[in-house]
Amino acid sequence: MAQQTGDGMTQGPALALALRAPRSRAIKYGLSVAAAVFLLVWPLFVHDRFLYHMAITLLLAAIGASSLHLIIRTGHVSLCHAAFLGVGAYICVNLVMRLKLPFAVGILAGAGGAALLALAIGPIILRLTGKYFVLVTFLFGEIVRMVFVDWQSLTGGANGILEIPPPSPFFADPQHYYYLALALSALCVGLCARILTSEIGRAIDSIREGEQLAECAGVPVIRIKVMVFVIACGLVGFEGGVQAHYSHYVSPQAYSITESLNFIIINVIGGMTSLVGPLLGTGFIVITPELLRGYVELQQIIFGAILILVMAFLPGGLAGLGGRVQWLMGRARGAMRP
């Protein structure tokens, strides 16, 4: 912990820390405000359909990624997150297109449906830990995808549902949709952040670090795990509805293992120890394909290689890169001292 800055060496670590803390907090707040202002203002100056599209994709993907981050923080890696994305999307699209219900009702019902499904299976599967949980969610995701393919009257089968209308003619303009996505994304990511900084957040961390110890200390482990799972799946179901009405198209392919895997990649690449991780990872995953356009295979190969490298050598992900460099530099400095 005693990371000494060059000039603070003689005063001792305590003083250096005391000087550091407020400054880093100020930097953090400054950065967040700057980011918020930037996100709100840039569309007013730049009118580029492609940039709008990228930004909307990024904002929506951030919802799924940060909600999966909640589950990962409890120590569980879910391989069926995209299944809940699909449940939300299909419910929302069916309510809006068949029953002509308003868009807001549709996305809320989609989120609710995904959350209900999570509530039904959560208490059972969350008793499993580690590899067994990964395997069960892997198989569950596959079952849900098969249901999407087979239940043709509601899902359109393998072809999916086409020509999903925008939420309203007003939101047909990508600039307007950007602000909608920004508001909803900020809401969802903010909710995740709020949960993680609350008392529940500390309980979540304690469950990951030592489930039995947490239980002994009076943390209602299974109840908190189920709650987090339900909230996270509800959020990703919410994303599903919003995303379907943006892309105007849903199909089982979009909710397969590959997509669940993408959410994991985002978290692994970004880093799994703080909410910054999935946000960084989302940026990376959404922007890289655009740089490698036309080379879809190459992009997947690169992602795969990154997964291997990160898992083998960089457990903290991109967000942990800074700390890792600091640690290495500290070690180098330590080695130089007599």
């Binding site: 008793r127 590899k131 069960v136 098969m146 994991i264 795969g304 898992m311 083998a312």
Partner: protein, 292 residues
């Protein structure tokens, strides 16, 4: 529906299909469970080695027209030997790290699958049948092709069994599977054992890939289903348990054959997945595994 079972032709077909599916599943799952049992590695890239095995047989038998048996063996070796390089580059970093191995090897699976897509494109190729006559006995028609598949798989399984039970290397492997540290203190070179286990596992997967590709078709995505199957089989039997993999493979092969013939392929898939999920919930260590 069940009255179909009294028809000898259909019954014979179910049995032969069940046996050949079981044999292939057991081959795939054995390698998977070996990697897990000894190195604690969950090989999400296992299906890709099956895929490579399929392509190896496609080239050696379908294009070069080598004798079938020779092509099958050479093809498996042609996949397993170069894979030792992958062991050195990728796998060895994940030994005894179960969680990291899952995600890291998912990455390897992506690398191999999409490299395959770059090289071979997405369309499916067929490997010509090795034998295309039928055998008729007692009113039952059996395709020779399937019988040969069963024979090849059984011979491999027999060889594997002899290797594990009657050689020193097999003994060392079983010891390492039981407890790595104690095996090391007894003078077993675990690095060598890991390499050997990896080689055997990939050899079995590639061999299964050839047989599987000959029944269905060869494409860069053909590994997805064998991977799912390996999961189901290994969970059924118990992760890391070798007899468990054999039992699980037979159960799954016959379930799929019976349900698939009577009710169609997706009914079989739903049934097997549901059973496995239930098993994971109530008895996560599987039928023949031991609780941790």
């Amino acid at each position: 529906m069940l009255s179909l079972l009294s028809n000898p032709t259909i019954l014979g077909q179910i049995v032969v299909n069940g046996l050949s599916l079981s044999a292939i599943y057991v081959l795939v799952a054995l390698g998977f469970t070996l990697l897990f049992g000894i190195m604690r590695v969950v090989n999400f890239a296992h299906g890709e080695f099956v895929m490579l095995g399929g392509f190896a047989l496609y080239y050696l038998y379908g294009m070069l027209h080598l004798p079938w048996l020779l092509a099958l063996v050479l093809g498996a070796l042609a996949v397993a030997v170069p894979s030792l390089l992958l062991e050195w580059l990728v796998f060895r970093w994940f030994y005894q790290k179960m969680f990291q191995s899952m995600i890291g090897l998912l990455g390897l699976s992506m690398v191999l699958m999409f490299t395959g897509l770059l090289v071979w494109d997405a369309y499916e190729r067929n490997i010509p049948r090795a034998f295309d006559f039928m055998i008729k006995t007692h009113g039952v028609i059996l395709p020779a092709d399937r019988l040969v598949t069963i024979g090849a798989a059984l011979a491999t399984l027999g060889g594997f069994y002899l290797f594990m039970v009657h050689t020193r290397a097999g003994l060392a492997m079983r010891a390492a599977a039981q407890d790595v540290e104690i095996a090391e203190t007894q003078g077993i070179n675990t690095r060598r054992i890991y390499q050997l286990a990896f080689f055997v596992a990939i050899l079995l997967a590639a061999l299964a890939g050839g047989l599987y590709g000959q029944i269905y078709a060869v494409s860069p995505f053909m590994g997805e289903r064998p991977l799912l199957v390996a999961f189901v089989v290994v969970i059924l039997g118990g992760m890391g348990s070798i007899p468990g993999a054999a039992l699980g493979g037979v159960i799954l092969g016959f379930t799929e054959s019976v349900l698939g013939t009577l009710y169609g392929g997706s009914a079989a898939a739903y049934a097997s997945f549901s059973v496995v999920i239930l098993l994971l919930i109530f008895r996560p260590w599987g039928l023949l595994g031991t609780p941790e």
